[in-house]
C-alpha cells in the first residue's frame, strides 16, 4: 500500500539510537507495534482514554496513540521492554506480581510506565498520589486496589496483604 509522504527520523528507543523512514500519517503506537514489533504498548481504545499504549517520552509519559510517529524525531522513547532488558523483572514488576497487580495483563504495560514515572517524581507516594498518578490508565478487570498496593510496596512502604 502507498505510504504517502514519508519522513526520515532519528530517535532513541530503549537506549538504542535508530533511524527510520516513517509515513507522515502513521501513529507512534502503530509504528512501535507494527513496524518495530514491540508488544509493550497496547492498543486499547485508540482514542487516548485507556492508557494501554503509554510509553515514556523524554522522561515523561505520553499515550502513543495520541502522537504521530514523526513527532518522535530526536526524542528518547522507553517502553516496558526496557524494564527487563537483562531478562529479570525489576522491583516494580516483581511488586506487581507479588501483590496480584494484574489479571488479564492488557493494561499492565501502561500501568508500569505510569507508575515508574510516578515513583521517579514521588519516591514515597501516598495512596491518593498513586491513584492520581495512574488516573490515565484504565483496568477493565478493575484490579485497582492491588495495583495501588503493588506501587506502594514498590516504593518501600508497608502494605496489608
Amino acid at each position: 500500500m502507498d505510504k504517502g509522504p514519508v519522513h526520515d527520523i532519528e530517535f532513541t528507543l530503549n537506549g538504542e539510537t535508530r533511524s527510520d523512514r516513517i509515513a507522515a500519517r502513521q501513529l507512534l503506537v502503530h509504528f512501535l507495534r507494527d513496524d518495530l514489533g514491540l508488544r509493550g504498548p497496547k492498543i486499547g481504545c485508540d482514542t487516548g482514554h485507556c492508557g494501554a499504549c503509554t510509553v515514556r517520552y523524554d522522561g515523561g509519559t505520553i499515550k502513543s496513540c495520541m502522537m504521530l510517529a514523526v513527532q518522535a524525531d530526536g526524542a528518547e522513547i522507553t517502553t516496558v521492554e526496557s524494564m527487563s532488558s537483562d531478562g529479570d523483572m525489576n522491583d516494580l514488576q516483581e511488586s506487581f506480581r507479588q501483590h496480584h497487580g494484574l489479571q488479564c495483563g492488557y493494561c499492565t504495560s501502561g500501568m508500569l510506565m505510569s507508575s515508574q514515572f510516578l515513583l521517579e517524581r514521588k519516591p514515597k507516594p501516598t495512596e491518593q498520589e498513586i491513584r492520581a498518578g495512574i488516573q490515565g490508565n484504565l483496568c477493565r478487570c478493575t484490579g485497582y486496589v492491588n495495583i495501588v498496593k503493588a506501587i506502594k510496596a514498590a516504593s518501600g512502604q508497608e502494605v496489608s496483604r
Binding site: 507495534r33 497496547k42 492498543i43 527487563s84 506487581f96 494484574l102 495483563g105 496483604r161
Partner: protein, 79 residues
Amino acid sequence: MTAPAQTEIKTPTWTGQSLPRKEDERLLKAQGAFVDDEGIYRMGYAHFVRSPKSFPLMSAKPRLWAGSSPPSPVMRSRR
C-alpha cells in the same frame, strides 16, 4: 443435654493462600500474546455501526473500504 464436642477445623493448604501466577512474568515483560500482538494471515477488523433507529433499513451495505474510516450507511425507519 450436652453440647456436641467441638471439632478442630483444619485450614486446607490452598484456600486463602496467596499464590504466584504462572502467567504473570510474561505479561509483566510484555511477552504475552494477545490476538492483536500475533496477527493472523488475512486477519480482518470489525467495525460496529450504531444505528439511531431500531430494526432499520440500511441504505448501503458495509463492504471493504480503502480509507481510514468506514463509510457510514444511512439508517431509516421502516415506516
